[in-house]
Amino acid sequence: MKGTFTMKTGRGIAILLAAAATVPLVLAGADRPSIAAVPASHADEASTVRRITEPQYRRAITDIFGADIKVVGRFEPDLRVDGLLAVGTSAVSITSGGLEQYETIARNIAEQVVAPDHRASLIGCTPAAADPAGSACAGQVFDRLGLRMLRRPLAPAERAALVATTLESARALGDFHAGLAAALTGLLTSPDFLFRIDRPGAPEQGRRMVDGWSKASRLSFFLWNAPPDEMLLAAAAKGELDRPEARARLVATMIASPRFADGVRAFFSDFLHLDDIDLLAKDARIYPAFSSAVAADAREQTLRTITDLLVDRQGDYRDLFTTRRIAMNRTLGPLYDVPVAERGWTFHQFPDGDPRAGLFTQISFLAQHSHPGRTSPTLRGKAIQEILLCETIPAPPANVNFAVVQDVDNPTLKTTRARLQAHLDDEECASCHKLTDPMGLALEKFDGAGQFRTTEHGEAIDTTGSFADTHFDGAAALGRLFQRNPQPIDCLVQSTWRYAMGRRLAAFDKPVVARLNADFAGTGYRMVDLIRAIALSPQFYEYEPASPPARMAGWPALATKGAM
């Protein structure tokens, strides 16, 4: 078996996976997925086609047409593979329902672009006496927009086709600008816009490399989570991206840009599974302080805390597990039980000894890996293992009796720990729960909405446990153990690499990941340096790497959410 896949909630979404035909597919929340599988013999190819994500699409439109042009509509959901949506981008296609959405969004954008109030700035020409049908004007428009939208120059035939579509549609609709909008809709719906399709370029030192345009895209989407801007496209046109020293200069410029923080946010949003947190719902009667606004701001809080530490202050990644400095606003203040002086976002410093310290005590983590009406040490422990340690926890067997665990009003088993312990008397369950629960139980002083508590049903909560053969008590102490442990570092490095490449780890990745790991230690675990090191690696630009990727023993499979 090559792996199992979880899909974000959504209906009727076809997924197409580069996996064996016999792969069992776990399709959580899909009503009637249509699944097309690919013959097993192709499963080991490195993909050269990645679908752009919703944030990338939105960013592209804003960059090309300006913030006035609104992108309204629902996108086909992304797919998490091997724990990352970025890896999923090279597994997904576009379904029939999805295409209708993309076409609708595209028409809406195109109509705005040609609308009278934007025409002058975005189109810049009209049919004239010498050019009554407007073919010269249409040609100019697509020369300019084609490069930005397809992230490479248009081929002459493509340009001719767009002009022809414009003129034919203008004739049918009796309006040049309507014709332009029709052709623009086609461009926005085309595979070269919706997918990043690698093109081979000249080899470098014996490696097969992608061409300069594809290099610009790889850099830009990795560092900025955005399509290449004018500067990068100009560099690609001049062939600068094919020269390592020129690449290094460009990477330095890109990291110095304010857009770099967007790229870091995009990575951590994906890595920490923060993308769908705003769909998180809690039982209103049990957690009345929780709301969808809290959920959305909890994500923002974590991302702001991370970019403050890792980008603005160029900090040590390991401090994320212990930091007492956390972004805060008045929506979140009630759940953290602290005053918030500012009306907007600010930073709150918890004092030494306070129960809140580090990533594990943030609501984005605590609430997301809980049930609607109670905590789940198992889900929390599993999230720590899988997300932050890149371990794999098997799904529970289908026939488990959860009655004891779920009975929160059990008169004798008052705490979650006591109820879980009863469950663990079953040896089959215990084998996995001993991997997840001890770390999850460390967080039990934070309820299912992430609020601090000291007792459960009147009984004091025990948060002791051990990690890496070291005893600890409580979330802050667990964070300190993580700060000193090498495994979270390894996990971050390989996750960042997988994110950058948009695919699973392959055997041939082992040397580059090992080198990145060593370099990361050498630079004091600064995230900025890890990202720079990846962007400067020749492997980052490789086209269809030579040896087929195969799952390496001991490296992670896909995250699956179990029932507990």
Binding site: R285, A289, Y336, V340, A341, T346, F347, P351, D354
Partner: protein, 417 residues
Amino acid sequence: MRRTIGRAALARPLQLAALPIAAIALTGASGPTGGDPHQRAFVLSNIYFAAAPEDGVCQPIAAGALESFLASLSADEQAALSAPGKRAELEKLMGERLGFRRMALRAGNSGGRSASARLPADLAPGATPTPEQVRAIARLNDFPKGRGALAFQNHVIAYDSCTNPEDFPQLAKGYRTYDGATAFGMNLDDKAGRAGFTGPDGESGVDNQLWRAIGCVAAFRESGNPATAKGTMFSARAPTLIAISGIDDPRNDSDVTVTVMASADAITKNAVGGALARATFDADPDPALRATTRGRIVDGVLTTDPFDIRLNYKEQILDAPRILKGARIRATLQDDGGIEGGFYGYYTLASFYSSIEQMTVNGANLSRVSCPGVRQAIDKLADGYRDPRTGRFTAISSALGFFGVAAFVNDGAQAAR
């Protein structure tokens, strides 16, 4: 103006001298989970006239203005207009006979059919008129001299039995006051005079002449029922805050500092519709909306010395601050961080009358209130803060109950000092 209440007069100079400046400064970007353990603060979700837990004393309840008007008509007219279905016609007739006016100051629905007012040239469209402009509008639209008031959130100018109840004493016929023996409140003057009530828990000499005056008005009886009041949020867009500082023992502390403040931050509702606890509110920097006194906590019950306070009251179409003089707080501090209790003090007549004026006869008719009846009763029963010049009382003893949840106060005014 001299107070008539001894204790209140004595307490005040002391408070001002001894208050710690940084009493409730919760500003700053750091702090422990749970906030400063020496401080507690609350946002009040409802402040209401605590109704006496006594039934059967207001039979029948006080008549509204419309009923009094009907009773004043000839037998023939009464016969023609007494059917409930004739109510709109009756209201129209009352307005015509008594010369009521109601005119819209801006476009749009202003809570009833209103002709558009002629406006002075210096009034910008949509702007709130100054008092001078209000007088000008009244003149331009032929209101009786010196009469008329803004209402309905300044969308209309009106002249009627609520804006000017003194002009319509005939509508007070059928009004009645509360003659029960029990009422919420405190003994404010340390005397057990004739007018005193017995509190629900047996406390004697309770001063609450306001309930005496309005306790048989249907609308007040209902909103004052504590069970109803607990589930209702009032003035949530301009709530009142109470902060206690200097707490050494949250159950028993002989000396704490208590500050009442206003906030312009609306109360956020939680997912089950109650007030969201532990939210941060900016204190209104207006010094008029802030008052501090000393208090003590005994077995979890806070009692303060008397002080003068001004409480925002902005609800629906009303914006009528409540001004209480010589008021004390007595309230239970709850384990979940909430508070429940009351403000007990002398409600100034001017501030109470403002709330009546703003409701206009339209609002009064909808809630079966006779503004002239209320006005006459309060004028008669007022018992505090005699104006030495006129010899009249300017305030009335009252009991305002409240409910609140834990909150944080961001007191920019304090920090700035």
